[in-house]
Structures are given as C-alpha cells and as structure tokens.
Symmetry: C2
Subunit: 302 residues, 2 copies
Amino acid sequence: MSLLITGSIALDTVKTPLEEHTDQLGGSASYAAIAASFFTPVNLVGIVGNDFPKPYLNLYRKHGVNLDGLQIATGKTFRWSGEYEWDMNNRKTLSVNLNVFETFQPTLPAHYRQTPFIFLANISPQLQLHVLSQVKKPKFIVADTMDLWINIAKVPLLALLKKIDCLILNESEARELMKETSLIKAGKALLKRGPKFVCIKKGEHGCLLFGKDLFFSAPAFPLEDIHDPTGAGDCFAGAFAGYLAKAGKVNHQTLRKAVIAGSVIASFNVESFSLNRLKTIKPKDIRARYKSFRQMSHFDVA
Amino acid sequence: MSLLITGSIALDTVKTPLEEHTDQLGGSASYAAIAASFFTPVNLVGIVGNDFPKPYLNLYRKHGVNLDGLQIATGKTFRWSGEYEWDMNNRKTLSVNLNVFETFQPTLPAHYRQTPFIFLANISPQLQLHVLSQVKKPKFIVADTMDLWINIAKVPLLALLKKIDCLILNESEARELMKETSLIKAGKALLKRGPKFVCIKKGEHGCLLFGKDLFFSAPAFPLEDIHDPTGAGDCFAGAFAGYLAKAGKVNHQTLRKAVIAGSVIASFNVESFSLNRLKTIKPKDIRARYKSFRQMSHFDVA
C-alpha cells in the first residue's frame, strides 16, 4: 500500500571534523521518502524554492517518489547547516534559513487524500495536524517529532498524539516530554497520551518499541566509522513506515520487522553524507544487513 | 564445573532518594558468588573482619558457596557507603574504609588451585594477578574492573588483559581505557590487548559481546522501578561466569546464553537492596525471565 510523507526538504551544509559538504539534499521528508521507497510507493508533500537542484528532483523520481504534492515556490529552498564534534553524538546547529518553508501550508492533491499509510516526518505539530486534517480514514499514522516542538509547541504536539497510531522520538525527547528519567516509564507514559505504539530511538544503543502487551528491544548495527549521522532518525522512521505500508497490516510481527527494516536503512545512511549511500544500495544489500541484525541479536533457548 | 571467585566483601551503606540501609552485605565477590551459585558450585576467596555478621556467612552457605578460602581476620570488615540521585544512573561514593581488606594477600587453599573456571571480580589488578598466579591451567578466566584501576593501576591492568580470556567492563570504562568515543572501536581495540572476548555493559541499554567473528547485542530487562543498582554489574559478571562454568565449554552459543543469564540475574538484583531479591528467587523465576528476554528481542526473518 502507498505511503504519504510530509516534512521538510532542505539544502544542508554539514561539517564533521574530517569533511564539509555544502547544499546537499536534506530535510526530514527527503530522508524519509528515499528510505521508504525501498519498500513502498511514496506520495511526497513538501515545498522547495526555484533554486532546488534538478538532480535532486531526479533522485526522488528514480526512487519512484510521486512529486504531485511537491510545491516549487518562487524563492529559496529551506537551508540548514550544522557541525559535528569528534564524538558524533554531539551536534551543533550553525544556521537555519526557513526561506519558502516559512509560509508552507500544503493543500493535498485529491488523489493523495486516500493514501492508507501516513508518515508525518519531523515538522511543526501544527503542520502535521494540518496535513492530517486533509486525509480520509487512513489505516495507520506514524509521526516523528523533535525537542524544538516539545519546547515551543507542546500543546499542539500533545493534541497530535491523540490522532496518531505511532509516535517516534529519541530518548532525550521521550524523557523530556514525559519528565521521566526512566525510558521504560517514559515509553509507557507516552502510550497513555494517545498513540497505540511508541518507538524510542537510542542511536548507537538501538531502539525500543512499546505497545499494549508489546515490548521490543532492537540493537543498532555496529558501525565503526560514521561519516554523517544527519538524517539517520528520519531514515529509520521512513523505512519503518514504508515497511508497514508494504506489509499492508500492522501487528506485533510486522511492527518488529519494521523496526529492524528502519534500523537497516538508517545504518546504511550514516555511512556517507546526505543520501549518497542510500543512492547506491540494492535490495540484496538490505536483505544481507537484515540477516546480520538477526545474527547479532540471536540466542538459543535456556 | 566449579568456579573460583575472588573480589571484595563489604558491608555497604546505601542511600537512595527513598530509602537508606546500613551495613548490608555487599562487595563485588558477594554479589558475584550468590549470582553464580544459581548455576554452579562456587569457591570463594576473600577476607572479612571478625565483626562480619553470621547471617551473611549463612547466606553464602545456603547458596552452596565454599568458604574454605574466606579469611576471617581480626579487625573490621571493609565498609563502603554511597548515595544515588533520583536518576539512579548517577551515584556518589560517600566513604570507603578498607579495614582488613587493606593488607589482603590471599593464599589459595590447595583444593582451590585446580578450579577450571575463574572469575576475578572487581578488585585491584595486582590482587587479581596475585590470585591468578596460584591457579593451575584454568580452562577459562573472566575478569571485571572499574574506572579507579584504569586511573591508578593501568600498567598492571594491561598486564592482566594478556592473561585472561574475557574482560567485562562498563561503557564509560571501555571508552576511557581505549581512548575511543565509539564503543564498537573500543571493544575491538580491547580484543587486541589480550582477551579473546570483551563484554561491554551498558546499564539500561543492555550489553555488547565482542570476539573474533562474534558480535552479540543483548537488551536490558525493562524495569520501571529500580530500588538499588548496587552490585548489578557484579551479579551480571558472576552469573555470566557461573553459566559458562555450568556449561563446561565456551563457544559462541554458550557465551550468548551466558550474557542473557547474567542480564537475568542482574535484573532481579536491582529490584531490592543488597542481595535481598536474589535470596528469594527460584530456578523457575530465572527460566521465566530468560524466556522474556527471548520474547523482547525476537523478530522474524525478512
């Protein structure tokens, strides 16, 4: 089944201690759409300026991403720049220029409105609610968020939680939103705020999936050299939603497999800047790494 | 097969935001010995003062721990006190009084010297080497350590690494000892220093086991209420070594199962102060929690 994805589309300038790359394709929706495209057809909703490079549009197309919901506005594309320390768990944002994204209020194309699976990638909860209000009886809604919205848009964020099926966020965000130091308590507290499932991303420690009668702990892939962590969380969430859309049904079995599919795609993404690694992977690469995940978490009965 | 355990035996005073308990049974060897006793016979090597409470000696005996190597010296038992914050990942040591432990230089009883499995619980690497020099052709040697020894006894610690089969340490210690921010790099670097296997404990994030052609990532049990984290790492390591001694052979399969056995016992231990929870558990409780670990990390083929 197809998957509607909305979020930001940006031109990123990313600096690490070893490399710097300027105006690379980025934004939560870009990462999520390419990640999901390995599993299911994607309907993209977003905005770019008329400076947006054609090769990036072609990359979406090559991955079968439907661009009928992509608005190309007069002006500049959203730009973000950030810098990583030697310990790539630490990042500082250097600049944010919203440009055409500042006034983005999408109207969904008619043929998008019955997309069965929805992924609201990281943008303001107000925009996520705006998009959600235009879709008809979706089967399953996944939403991502970030610390910024917990700080400046907590009320709409809590309203959003009541309308979605699955929330994805990272560990510090989960702790902060629920005011709990224990991730287990934070995960269970979030379930009481609306979503049927909560997925807490823990970076190099993997992730946790919570649901009624469901607790799943997934490892992270043991990468020694991470070139650019930007977009890893967006790739995880996009591939997670994409896998579920492909399965067409959501149950404990498909959810667990979706978490691993998300972890697989995210682990590839950090191996190079922007979407450069995802551009090169093939279905057989995904299958092989999925198998590695099974190998590294398997143990026999007592 | 039997397991020799040496380490500290202490009377602990532990304060949490909700409770305080004085002169409770503690020390790395106490936790490790009781944890291992669920799997295999234990030969304990340690020292206490003549103030050591009889009920604690009886607890060892009840768990079948051989006390022929326990020296009861004139003087006071080693005492430690510490305080946990609301976030129990943070602990501060309030006082340390080595007492009779200060001059501890054990001579192993003759019948201990051919014990096939050895666990050197957390004490100075000099003492660990001293004990090791007295055992004859052990089959498998596991050692634990802590940040203190990395800081004040790095040379003997590195010498120890060349004589053991498996090192167990926590994530900050692994990073510090190898000067690596990546745990994957730290784990692989430690393998080059001598041990065939390295186990990195990550607290609430589970643990990682490294070996040649071996990488295993184990989850932690999702506990909501942790009453006292003291000794969790010692219990993990003791049960890990105890499980291997019971199996009598060390291969990738038994190592993975030993990691889970260690995680199971550690997860029980934090549910109450001192060894109060381990005193109450039965083999069926261990089996049931082991099964939960399988359930929470299982996912199907792609």
